[in-house]
């Protein structure tokens, strides 16, 4: 239905500036509305005279930079309009620096538009439409993005495909008669959540039998581990104010025109996490990643309740996850990572039940970079992949072992094994190569001239192997950041622009203080990098970054290296032994197979259907 054309008076009460109003006037005129732009600097009663004189004015939009005493002036204007009998006739709007809806309400205006308001937003308000930042009439079509959508997972490199088939077949066969405390806990958790009430019923009483250390102690004695506490009623109640926060914030989504941008949270406290999430959402993040504590990954079992602790990483509990989920924007993609510890399968169950969209699993990295016993994590990892398929959770396969010194081609070989395994088990993998200044390139010099070529080579190589979604991380620019927030933001933005130019599906970014925060990061630093990335995207638009010919050469070398490693693993006849023996990264690369969970595997007694 066509919108009835409106008559609008534009009033620059500011003594000088009326540029904002000129832009709005153009947008209104483009939509067929009649506007009158008054000269700057009129007195309020002179504006009232104009409204009286110009018959039929329906909207008055006042522009004014706010400061102390200016509020009184604008409030007086509203009073004058009313006292002159014009309030029924006109809708009063105010815009300018420092204007917020609360302040507009306080001054008696019908709506307020703050800095960053687009002219289209004002037009939408005047036309009585709900404004959506991604364009007129597109709100209903805006859905949460599926990063794996449209990917065939067809291999272009058939040699690599054959090796992967051999390796994954062996893995599935090897794990088939094995179980672990982690596997059992995941099944109990699933039954309990489905048949019981969270941590009651559904066979929950057996859960503690599969726990160890401080977690077993918690379930036996009810004592929380050190520096861990339950959130108070008051703290939980205080969250109510953030429930609809995104409604009051300016949601800018660079993800609409480029890769979806993920931020990582894990302050240790779910309340602070929620503030970080809301800040991230308000400044354009399309997705958020739940970071659990590294210590938690080394303990058998997960705690319960609304818990906070004085360490990095937020405790994975059913209640914490549900609480965080409550505050997520419905469009925000939510990843709960499960890739590296003794609770990998159970974490996927919790993530799936709590409504996550994504998880993160990689047995090679967990073994070589996160201290897990290869045998244990292989059994748990396969189980976790089955759960991911069950919940239809897409998963990224991260290659953070590169940061320990494992060369990219070996890390990629491990990633491709896990990705292929995921496909075999019905899950949807996303490849996560690092965009980083890794020990490998420091030693070999691939980034001596620029950061573009080797990162681009990774993307080109993976694309020549398989048609799979790509999500560079994590975060992009790893080891290029310094304690200088400006430098940190710039390097993040440049890596993001490279990722965008390469057409990847998502990126994870750090805050500008993440590498050097020494504790929970600051919200302002979170905003730094989101804004920097947004500016980068704006700067490049649809223009691309052109790598040098070295990128293609390195891509070829990477593919050859990956193929070689996979052949060696396939020929060895055992994925787990390959991890122990260093075929996917060994001591000479700075990678050591871990010991966490060693000796905990048991022969499976009765096959249970999931």
């Amino acid at each position: 239905m066509a919108t009835r054309k409106k008559k609008i008076l534009l009033v620059p009460l500011d003594p000088v500036h009326d540029m904002g109003l000129k832009l709005i006037r153009k947008a209104l005129a483009d939509n067929g509305h009649a506007t009158t732009l008054l000269p700057p600097g009129l007195k309020v009663h002179e504006v009232v005279e104009w409204i009286i004189k110009e018959a039929g004015i329906e909207f008055v939009l006042v522009s004014r930079t706010l400061g102390y005493r200016v509020g009184e002036l604008l409030a007086r204007f509203v009073d004058l309009v009313e006292a002159c009998g014009l309030r029924e006739q006109v809708t009063l709007l105010v815009g300018g620096m420092a204007v917020r809806p609360e302040l507009a309400a306080e001054m008696g205006f019908d709506a307020g538009f703050g800095p960053g308001t687009s002219p289209e937003e004002v037009v939408a308000f005047i036309e009585g439409r709900h404004f959506t930042p991604w364009g007129k009439g597109e709100e209903s079509s805006r859905k949460k993005r599926d990063l794996t959508s449209g990917f065939s997972y067809i291999y272009k490199n058939k040699g690599i495909e054959r090796s992967l088939a051999l390796i994954t077949g062996e893995i599935i066969d090897w794990v088939s008669n094995k179980t672990s405390p982690g596997v059992e806990r995941a099944r109990i958790r699933f039954r309990s959540l489905r048949e019981g009430e969270g941590d009651k019923g559904g066979g929950w009483e057996k859960y503690q039998d599969y726990c160890a250390g401080p977690i077993a102690q918690y379930y036996k004695e009810g004592r929380l581990p050190r520096e861990t506490r339950t959130l108070s009623e008051d703290e939980l109640r205080s969250l109510r104010q953030y429930k609809n926060w995104e409604g009051q914030s300016k949601i800018i989504r660079p993800g609409v025109v480029g890769p979806d941008i993920f931020i990582q949270y894990g302050t240790g406290c779910p309340l602070m996490d929620i503030l970080h999430i809301k800040t991230g959402e308000a400044w354009g993040a399309a997705g958020v990643v739940h970071f659990d504590p590294s210590e938690g990954a080394r303990s058998e079992g997960l705690l319960g309740g609304y818990l906070s602790h004085a360490q990095d990483g937020t405790l994975l509990t059913w209640e914490n996850l549900r609480l965080i989920k409550c505050f997520l924007n419905p469009l925000t993609l939510w990843q709960v990572r499960a890739h590296r510890g003794l609770n990998t399968p159970e974490t996927v169950v919790l993530a799936g039940e709590a409504g996550a969209d994504l998880t993160k699993i990689n047995m090679a990295y967990a073994s070589l970079g996160a201290g897990m016993d290869p045998a244990r994590i292989t059994v748990d990892g396969v189980e976790a992949l089955r759960w991911a398929a069950h919940y239809d959770l897409a998963l990224d396969v991260v290659t953070n072992e590169e940061l320990s010194g494992v060369p990219a081609h070996k890390a990629f070989a491990g990633m491709l094994i896990v990705a292929h395994l995921a496909l075999q088990l019905g899950a949807r993998p996303i490849l996560q190569p690092l965009f980083c200044y890794s020990p490998e390139v420091m030693l070999q010099g691939q980034m001596r001239d620029n950061y573009i070529d080797f990162n681009a080579a990774k993307i080109l190589a993976l694309r020549q192997i398989i048609a799979a979604p790509l999500w560079p991380g994590a975060p992009i620019g790893f080891l290029t950041h310094t304690e200088d927030r400006v430098q940190s933001s710039v390097t993040t933005a440049l890596h993001a622009c490279l990722a965008r130019s390469l057409g990847v599906q998502a990126i994870s970014i750090a805050s500008s203080d993440e590498a050097y925060a020494g504790g929970p990061i600051a919200a302002a630093s979170r905003v730094d990098t989101l804004r920097a990335v947004q500016e980068g995207f704006r700067f490049f638009g649809s223009a691309n970054i052109q790598p040098t010919p070295r990128a293609r050469e390195w891509a070829g070398e990477l593919i050859d290296g990956i193929a070689r490693v996979l052949t060696d693993v396939a020929n060895s006849g055992s994925f787990v032994q390959s991890l122990y023996r260093g075929l996917l990264g060994g001591p000479e690369d700075g990678a050591y197979p871990g010991r966490i969970g060693r000796g905990t595997l048991r022969r499976k007694e009765v096959e249970k259907d999931v």
Partner: protein, 363 residues
Amino acid sequence: MFRVGFAGTAKNTGKTTALMYFLRRASIRGEQVGLTGIGYDGEEIDHLTGLVKPRLKCPAGTLIVTAKGCLDRMTATYRIIGKLPLSNALGQLLLLKTISPGTVVVAGPNSGKDLRLTMDFFQRAGCELVLVDGAFGRLGPFVEVDGLILATGAARSANIINLVEDTRAFSRVFALPALRGREEIQVGSSISLHLRDGRVKRLQPASLVSESLVAAIAPMVPYASVISLPGVVPGDLLWQLCQKVEGGFSGKTMVFSDPTKLLLAGNYERAAAALAMIVASGGRPVVKRRIPLLALTVNPFYPLQTKNTFRRAFINDDQLKEALRGVSQVPVLNVKEREPNYYLDIANGKVRSELNSQKVPGT
């Protein structure tokens, strides 16, 4: 139902503190109180200065009209009783009843017409006393209340002499007498002059918003017995009119709609001076509708701007209160003082002292 507005001469003059004081008193007395505001109140941090503000605390059982967008910011628990067919910049207005005490955020009707409709809702919900919080120096919607409590203080002017003169002027305008019951003066929706020969001259618009209107009216005044100015009358323009009229206002009645119309443009002193000039020359300024001033509250606090930030500053509390005591016939209260013991007398529409149950001097 007794409706009381809490107006301020500026932002940060202590409207909310004054309102909370009388809200608490009414609650102790067991009265059913309704609460709303014509702006936005209850925020933790001042939107403009960044300074911490007093939160609006509310006892259980209070009826509140506020916008939907405020609900998530309150710690008081509540039940939604009704939805009003009104909205403001923060969403639709709702009628709530608090179940447990706590902080509330109030952003209610933003015009006089909407405030009138809101009062109907309070009336139907059984309110005995409705408190309406003001915003900045806004007065317009307060034509819908039965009495006004004016909050003033250093935030209006940190100079005590200026503040006293300003408050005196405000009080004088609010002290204007009403038209006598038997007077049948037709004050329509436009400026009108009732000439001695029986004719009535009408001019559009209703408000005296331009110097050209002043120039048009002034020559006719000597021939008029009644001058009716039903709309806004800025003090400056009324002063100009007084200057231009030859022969003064002897025997003439000048009718204004209500006191707020003379003060909306802000310059209280000029408006009071013009009225004094009319009286001095034998004229009789009156209002069609009186809005009694019930009390003055004083606040020594003001936000002091230093470069780009503000810090809390105060003028001498005792000097301020003492200086303002003589400027008006109504009680002057510092509601932050310990146990000042005043309350709103619903039956008589007054502010009274609880201590001796006697009428406060001057009321």
